[in-house]
């Protein structure tokens, strides 16, 4: 049987490097998807994920065993990503702008629709949705989180996460037609 995350966390807390490594390997993809959903730029997403893992392991003692490690890590990742976006917004007001995540108005459904591949197109359209909608859809479809967990990650109530998910799905179906 596969070792559970909870067991790995226990071992990592007592300094087991291999347990720590396994936790990183298990959750890098999911953390990367959350980061990418927010910042929509791969290099920035990489940095966000690395910083999130560093902070998560520094704060491992605050992790409560009754929560899923994955959800906890994703919440930290989401916070980190929102922090990066806040800083980017501040930079935007200055003339020099470098390596900033793609702003909302530069991803338009029309250009995404040029992609012939239906699969790639759906993903591109997803990234064109408003932030909470695209996060809610991604966390539900990609990670299988409950709406309660999604609310925790995106900083909303469970109900708001559910509404954002359904709005996002409806909008995507319209755009895909």
């Amino acid at each position: 049987m596969e070792v559970t995350d909870a067991e790995l966390v226990e071992r990592a807390r007592s300094g087991d490097a291999r347990a720590l490594d396994e936790l990183v390997r298990r959750h890098t993809d999911a953390a990367f998807r959350v980061a990418l959903s927010y910042v929509r730029e791969e290099d920035t997403a990489r940095d966000v994920v690395q910083d999130a893992f560093l902070k998560a392991f520094r704060a491992l003692e605050t992790f409560r065993g009754d929560a899923a490690f994955k959800t906890w890590l994703m919440t930290i990742t989401a916070n980190e990503a929102r922090g990066v976006l806040r800083k980017t917004k501040r930079w935007k007001e200055q003339p020099i702008e470098e390596a900033a995540p793609v702003p909302d108005d530069k991803i338009d459904p029309a250009s995404a629709a040029v992609m012939s591949d239906e699969v790639g197109r759906a993903r591109a359209l997803l990234q064109s949705l408003p932030e909470k909608q695209r996060l809610s859809v991604s966390l539900r479809v990609d990670e299988g989180l409950s709406f309660r967990e999604i609310g925790a990650v995106i900083g909303s109530s469970e109900g708001a996460a559910r509404v954002n998910y359904f709005h996002g799905i409806r909008r995507l179906r319209e755009l895909m037609e």
């Binding site: 807390r13 490594d21 409560r64 906890w72 919440t75 900083g155 179906r173």
Partner: protein
Amino acid sequence: MIESNCGEVRELLPLHAEGALADPTEVVEHIATCAECGAELELVRVLAASRPAAPDGLASTISAAVLADASLASGSDTPPAAAVEPGRRRSVTPWWQLTAAAVAALALGVGVTSSLGTPDLDVAPEYASELEEGDLFVSGDGLLAGAPALEALSDEALMQFLDELQVIDGGAA
């Protein structure tokens, strides 16, 4: 099937698309008679098929960075002498072994400085002022209490917070 099932079924579509439902009977039967939910399942499947993965090597890079960070903090991996700033070296509690109570104090906005016996009530610690509304998330059952607040801190503020904890612990500064 009656369409009143739609709401319930739509919530389950992502799990159904992954084959993660213990008993998919209800969903399968509903899809067979409801074109709307069938179309939505198609969309969910298409989305799931385009789920991005992290770039190659990212997990290894992160793993190495986290391990280096942990060993530096615990002092088990002594950095080269030239890299050590005189007077900065000291016995340190690993960050990841901070007591939950200490971090909970931060999350709740409790001034750690007041425990030092030299409170300066006019100047809030930087790590307290950096928290913004909405950064602190505490679910009904305390699911994620504290962690997001810690994440909202800049590295400098986090270091300050950790430094002060060491002082409280009686460590030599």
